[in-house]
Symmetry: C2
Subunit: 391 residues, 2 copies
Amino acid sequence: MKQTGDLNLVKKINKSIVLHHIRTDSPISRARIAEITGLTKATVSSLVNELIESSLVDEIGAGESSGGRKPMMLLFNGTAGYAIGVDLGVHDILAVLTDLTGKVISEKRVQHDNASVEAVIQLLRTTIRELIDSAPQSTYGIIGIGIGVPGICDDDGNLLFAPNLSWENVPLQKDIEETFHIPVVIDNEANAGAVGEKQFGAGKDTANLVYISIGIGIGAGIIIKGELYRGATGFSGEIGHISIQHDGPKCRCGSLGCWELYASEHALLEQARLELGEPAQLDKLLSKAEAGDEKVIALFERLGYYLGVGVVNIINGYNPEFIILGGRLAGAEKWLMKPLLQLLEKRSLPLPRKRLNVEFSQLSDRSTVLGAASFAVSKFFASTTVSIDGN
Amino acid sequence: MKQTGDLNLVKKINKSIVLHHIRTDSPISRARIAEITGLTKATVSSLVNELIESSLVDEIGAGESSGGRKPMMLLFNGTAGYAIGVDLGVHDILAVLTDLTGKVISEKRVQHDNASVEAVIQLLRTTIRELIDSAPQSTYGIIGIGIGVPGICDDDGNLLFAPNLSWENVPLQKDIEETFHIPVVIDNEANAGAVGEKQFGAGKDTANLVYISIGIGIGAGIIIKGELYRGATGFSGEIGHISIQHDGPKCRCGSLGCWELYASEHALLEQARLELGEPAQLDKLLSKAEAGDEKVIALFERLGYYLGVGVVNIINGYNPEFIILGGRLAGAEKWLMKPLLQLLEKRSLPLPRKRLNVEFSQLSDRSTVLGAASFAVSKFFASTTVSIDGN
DNA sequence: TAAGTTTGTTTAATGAATTTACAAACTTTC
DNA sequence: GAAAGTTTGTAAATTCATTAAACAAACTTA
């Protein structure tokens, strides 16, 4: 049933507000937190002391006086525990160990050939195990594992469908949880990427952003009012399958003229094959474009146009403040950005466009893995701020 | 800053939970509410008695015993106050007086020729005045006015842009508030329609629905987790301007191939003119189709196809549980539904479609006006208790 | 050195929920 | 029809997080 109100809830709310300010505005004093939040000094003091008790906050010494007693400055203790983030890709696994602030402590990257589901999961297990073993000693240890996957998940952490891996109904969360006995969160790689960008990338101060992952297909993570939008049944953002040509070519999803048939890596390589007369690879196309090959540059520019078509749809449909383009094709920003922006200028409604930013990701291929780690940290705080005192 | 927690908040939360159950599950006893919510009987008793004190709840006598003392049944007192809902259309105004349950008490419908902004607003004022005067005596009187408008609004109740009225920057909320000194809420007609459908129509038990208003243009109201999704800058759902043909004909919005160029009433009439060689009107086309005119039926069926194209995009983009089609064209359900469903069957991804319903509105042209009244009621409860969101 | 400011803690008060107890009103059972 | 058990709703005592007020410590300024 719905959450009712009691004193426990009040404390949980206030404690997480206090912790939030220590995490984002640190170093900060108790008095300043009281001033910002409207809580009394006594309340803040009490909550801060509990947070110190539980190792999540440290006092780092006196700050500058503003005409009276010097304030004791507080800092979030990012090393009270560690999280693991994983980007389970189609051809590789990228995994990081981060502290509670999201700072990367160590990183592993391994290739896989997707020989079997079990083989990949086994590789995943050994990769995670190595990172766990590399973690420094800490109060809470490894507090969780977040995994971004190239497919659709349900609420129970099952990977329902991952077309580019040809996986179906893999109980990934349960599997990894049983291996390590640590809380595991599974989510779509674009959702994870969106969270990564919001926490650590260009979207830091934004509550409404759309992260578009342009890879073999196109996926999107949508953050509304600071929260991921998952749709009714736990997955949305199948934005790659928004049709931009109702009578266009058939997509494997059953529809016609889907955006990702025009604006994905797969689409680019297919066009390159048709126009250049030979199978192409992304890195080769990139170096050719870099060398000034006009035919290849034209290919990228056309891709930029098609990206723009879909971005206009996203603007009109979601009215975000921020659109961040990421994924493998983010490396082609140089040639994609201009035609994309030109199209936006011409085609998007002026009102939704007013307060909008469109940028390529600054985190390169780490948006997803950082977001995944962030899922684990969020889950930890969601479960802890309530019962951390133990009473 | 963010809302902090205190005893007041706890009480607000619990009081609104209790009221929510009385509103939705009535008649209901105190004991049953305690059982459902997890609150203690003492707490429920105390809160219920305050609600009775404030006239929002009535005791209606003893219910059936289940083996012990008979329970005292509680009922929400819908007549403690009245709300006004308005659908400000392009050619007419529909306004209703409802009680707090949304039951329509009286109704007014007037035509207008949009001679000037001031003339329409004056007509709006006299219409509202008549409804106010027709309201029965009650504890709280007229608790608010909600207005659905065919355009884009900002948070301050300004009608920024209404293309089909040719209005721009009209401070409608302020204007009506100053006339009646009653709280006024302004919102887009599709947003109001979505809320109307959720409260009173087909979407009653749904937290995630999209209401598509097919009128002269196409608008949409999107409800996510029981709340309207407004986008970053207060308006979204410009779904009519999602392109379904990236190189299609130019739309007045600047883009090419927008959905509403294919699937709106305007589009239908334009096609009718081209194919039948004479200017057409919707009601005439409807009667011709009714009479079995195959050419006209084919027009509707093609419209159904184009509706489906956009609906597939909405399914893939928002993954709602429920899509409700409303607006003037809802009257053509008979010919639109079949090609629409056929298209969905063929083109939408199986997973998002699984738990999805697509229906035409049952409220005919009252979705918007009922939703608008509901806005006023919600605002009233938000100020007295705390927002009542429907699970 | 004295006066004023700022920080953070202590103490008492507030009030909403919980726990426990209980009376009243019913039904069931023998 | 009386006794036993159940259900409903209220009352009294307790709990606990917040607030308000007072205060000591630490610092700046004049």
